[in-house]
């Protein structure tokens, strides 16, 4: 029996939430953008009026202003968007327990079992769409199909406020006629390669011999072929199904360029504190430390190293990060952003080999200090206690890295369940 899968996508999510809260701006171009003083001055999203004028996500605020004079830019309010996102999920959950989010504004809903008692796919999509409009004041595009890939294609197909059903009768007309870039997982690089082989539409891709695709792309070629033919078997994950966390990291774009080692040390320590605290909160230790450095030209690199003993101690992570940095950066240009990541995670009480080189008493003391800092910060706020180093440049180190945690989702984060 075929599945019935909905993909619901909130239109211009942040902008729509802001438009609802600013009726005085109705009919005007609006964009949500970061704070240029903190050097987060880019457009996060814009409403349709602004988009039509050429405002694009990722462009600088002043560029957007040039493209669209009269553009109103408002700062982002993540807590508000999170609230709206959670409320959309609550609505979806009334129709199925297989509700899988893909970012704040997208969700797959498997309604196969719900059909029996609640109504068929398109009817449920209409009901959900109407409810979101009435109860939350924003619009969604919904795609209905028998697999996740086509369902997502459907929600992208028409915006805003639309429902697109892709069934066995019309998929060749709708999906196969579309350019290959519209398929999930076909980005710039993949589509360039496909174009070179004369594969321009999804239909071309679907009708290409899978073994040729395997020769070009490896296993991913077979996966793409299945996606194009609507044969993806990936299930919609049940809600509250935990993802195994593979790594914990933090990165930041600093309010000013970093030009000295001390600058970098401050920021790396700040990030390491955040990463260490999150590791401890989830009960992990890790033994690979990775840093990411990006310079003023926005070109970056990452370096990683396996350390002696798995750790969740901020001092150890910071020291290793500094060492990796010193050995791999020769200061050709000032630095714009850095990141610290810990991978190869293990449970805290996982038995591990003691190292000959680290003093267990010192580690114990460091860990105790970290735990004490955690507790103070929980009770009195992030700024209540800080390393002396941070006071050298308060502005650089004032950010609480933990308030900007975003959890990116990958389609394959639970492993390859496509059936290929």
């Amino acid at each position: 029996m075929e599945r019935v899968i909905l993909h619901s996508d909130c239109n211009c999510f942040y902008a729509s939430v802001e438009m609802l809260h600013h009726p005085e701006l109705a009919g005007k171009p609006l964009a949500v953008g970061g704070d240029p003083e903190q050097r987060h001055g880019i457009i996060l999203t814009a409403n349709y009026i602004a988009k039509r004028a050429g405002v694009k996500t990722g462009t600088a605020l002043w560029e957007a202003r040039q493209a669209c004079p009269g553009l109103v830019i408002v700062p982002p309010r993540m807590d508000l968007y999170l609230r709206f996102s959670n409320l959309t999920r609550e609505i979806y959950r009334e129709y199925s327990d297989l509700v899988e989010s893909y970012g704040l504004d997208e969700c797959w809903i498997d309604c196969t079992q719900s059909e029996a008692c609640m109504g068929n796919g398109p009817d449920l999509a209409a009901e959900i769409s109407a409810r979101i409009k009435r109860e939350l004041g924003i619009t969604v595009s919904i795609g209905v199909s028998w697999n996740k890939i086509y369902a997502k294609f459907g929600s992208d197909y028409r915006k805003p406020d639309a429902i697109t059903v892709i069934d066995r009768d019309n998929y060749r007309d709708i999906v196969w006629e579309s350019p290959v870039e519209d398929l999930l997982f076909v980005g710039r690089a993949t589509s360039r390669k496909l174009h070179r082989f004369g594969i321009l539409t999804i239909g071309d891709l679907a009708q290409t011999d899978p073994s040729l695709l395997k020769d070009i792309f490896g296993k991913m070629g077979l996966v793409l072929s299945a996606f194009a033919r609507g044969e993806d078997q990936t299930p919609v994950a049940a809600e509250y199904s935990e993802m195994p966390v593979k790594s914990i990291g933090n990165s930041t774009t600093t309010p000013r360029d970093l030009t000295t080692e001390q600058d970098v040390k401050m920021v790396l320590y700040m990030l390491s504190e955040s990463v260490a605290s999150r590791l401890r909160r989830h009960g992990f230790v890790g033994d690979v430390v990775e840093i990411y450095v990006r310079d003023g030209d926005l070109s970056g690199f990452s370096r990683q190293h396996k350390i002696d003993m798995p750790t969740n101690i901020s001092e150890e992570i910071a020291q290793e990060s500094m060492r990796l940095f010193r050995e791999n950066y020769n200061w050709e240009k000032p630095i714009r952003s850095v990141g610290v990541r810990v991978t190869h995670l293990k449970m805290e009480n996982y038995p591990y080999q003691l190292s000959l080189f680290t003093d267990p008493a010192w580690r114990e003391k460091q860990l105790k200090a970290d735990l004490a800092v955690d507790e103070i910060r929980d009770r009195f706020g992030f700024q209540a206690v800080r390393r002396g180093l941070m006071h050298v440049d308060a502005k650089l180190s004032e950010e609480d890295a933990q308030t900007h945690v975003v959890h990116p989702h990958g389609y394959f984060e639970r492993g390859n369940q496509t059936g290929i």
């Binding site: 009726p23 202003r65 409320l87 030009t259």
Partner: protein, 128 residues
């Protein structure tokens, strides 16, 4: 390594080995051609830019079953009105007021009033 300041000469940029297009952009930025005038607004919690949304003082009751019910509302003129009856409570967005929350349809002095709880400890009504 010199501190990057806002006046970067073309030569300095070239010496960093930056590509021309980005160079142009950086140059423009450095020369202050960015124009933020009048478009970047920072809204406070009050959201006072929208006159149709009126936050009101509300006296409400929390029952031991966890039900929140508004009992008395204070209008802008300072007068207080008892809420005789709550007809229903449903989640709604008010495009006119510019907000979203739990809409309590209340009977106040024989008239139906829609009172929104915005779930941020604040209640609002729509000005007609």
């Amino acid at each position: 390594m010199p501190h990057t300041d806002t006046n970067i000469s073309r030569d300095a940029l070239r010496s960093y080995g930056m590509q021309p297009a980005r160079q142009e952009r950086r140059q423009k930025e450095a020369e202050g051609e960015r124009d933020y005038s009048g478009t970047f607004r920072v809204y406070g919690d009050e959201e006072t830019a929208n006159p149709a949304k009126v936050y009101v003082d509300v006296l409400a009751e929390f029952s031991k079953e966890g039900v929140l019910r508004p009992c008395r509302i204070t209008w802008e003129d300072g007068r207080r009105y008892m809420i005789d009856r709550v007809k229903k409570c449903e989640r709604r967005a008010s495009r006119k007021a510019g907000g979203m929350g739990l809409m309590y349809t209340c009977m106040v002095g024989g008239q139906e009033v829609n009172l929104f709880y915005e779930e941020n400890m604040k209640w609002f009504v729509t000005r007609k």
